[in-house]
């Protein structure tokens, strides 16, 4: 399904409820009645093209954002990605931590195994947090600097040097390690955790991990298919302006 501006947002969510956290990151909260996407975006001052690009990319892995690529500024995208990080760190991750803690408290036997699970999850969270911080402290500021240079047509030598030494293409490779830990985490719970009486809680934890994984994958895909090409074209402009 292609998501378009004259569609009812409620209908879209009935079709794909995984988009709820995505629209939250744009500041849209549930309870919008029968409004269309266009109406909601104009009420909340959201860039419509950008909204459609993100929701479509998230919704359909085969969607390619070429036609909309040029119509919004990179800072919007960076803003969105930061909101996504905030959602992980402030909501999703602590929620799963609470579920795991509850699993520990509910279990009378196998306390040691539950403790191992909890520690492994903490390790995973630390790694994810480090990865996110790196993006926010290194990658995004770099991207914003590029955009500013192009907007103002001022190209400091220092920036040109940075473009030559650190290219955004390197950054695509940096996602893997965090993914592996999440993969292990799911397998440990499904295959190796001693059977507990509270299977429903295990289901909730696994379910949340799968949703988190899907969301992280979409997040990475948005970075790889929208952010990276956009930054590559900015890098190209800057290098050619210098020479």
């Amino acid at each position: 399904m292609l998501i378009e501006k004259d569609m009812n947002l409620a209908d879209v969510l009935h079709h794909d409820h995984n988009l709820i956290p995505v629209i939250n990151r744009f500041g849209i909260k549930l309870g919008f009645g029968d409004s269309t996407i266009e109406e909601i975006c104009s009420d909340l001052n959201i860039n419509l093209d950008f909204f459609l690009t993100i929701t479509n990319t998230y919704h359909d892995p085969r969607y390619f954002a070429n036609s909309h690529l040029k119509s919004f500024d990179v800072y919007l995208l960076v803003d969105y990605l930061k909101q996504t990080h905030k959602n992980y760190l402030n909501d999703r991750i602590p929620y799963i931590a609470r579920l795991i803690k509850q699993l520990m408290e509910d279990t009378t036997e196998h306390k040691a195994s539950m403790k191992l699970l909890e520690n492994f999850y903490k390790e995973y969270v630390n790694e994810l947090t480090r990865h996110i911080e790196r993006e926010e402290k290194v990658v995004y500021p770099y991207v914003l600097k590029l955009e500013k240079a192009i907007d103002t047509a001022v190209f400091p030598d220092e920036l040109t040097h940075q473009v030559k030494t650190y290219s955004i293409t390197d950054y695509e490779k940096e996602h893997e390690n965090v993914e592996e830990k999440l993969f292990d985490l799911k397998n440990i719970i499904i295959k190796y955790l001693p059977p507990t009486s509270n299977q429903n809680l295990c289901f909730s934890i696994i379910h949340e991990l799968f949703i988190l994984e899907k969301d992280l994958n979409e997040h990475a895909r948005i970075e790889d298919t929208i952010l990276v090409p956009k930054v590559e074209s900015m890098e190209y402009v800057i290098l050619n302006n210098k020479n």
């Binding site: 040691a112 195994s113 492994f120 292990d184 440990i188």
Partner: protein, 201 residues
Amino acid sequence: MAKATRVIIIEQAYLLAAGLEALVGELHGVYVEHVYHGSEPNLTEKVLGHKPDIIIVDPNSLGEQFFSIMKAFQNETDIKVVGLLSDNAPNPIKGRFSHQLNRNHCKFDLLEDLKKIIGNDLEKKPSHNQKLSNREIELLKQVCLGLTNQEIADKLFLSVHTVMTHRKNITKKLGIKTVSGLTVYALMNNLVDIREVENRG
């Protein structure tokens, strides 16, 4: 679980490609890795790059390149090349395929044919033992204690290459990729002692 069978489809006609995908999707442990139109540049390299088990080819989609591409595919003896043919396909084309699907057949027949083509393949596979061998358990312990591949090799009198092969097999059998994940597994199964792990450097 036996290894999944990968299928590549070369079919220009959208409806035929969609039909083939749906057909393959009904079989257990078989999936379509990619669909090509047939007119892509460097098609042979792209297709072989997927390391497919099966390639389903509609000769109409390849046009004049048909014979040269088929020749390249047939050099790969591990891959079964299946022709999607109609009743009146000319013999020189029919003769190129060791396996065939008839596009005029009903679904039931097509599924049976496809099963037969893939079936031979499944029988040949050795049984997969997911349990760790004693050697692998010994190695896993060393990994959990924080030893490097070189240190493990020295300690167990193995080459580094052998250590790496063992590690790959352990990861494959357990479905756990990271060292900390492996450690959790080993601790849960009492293969190592928590005090030893905490003392690691």
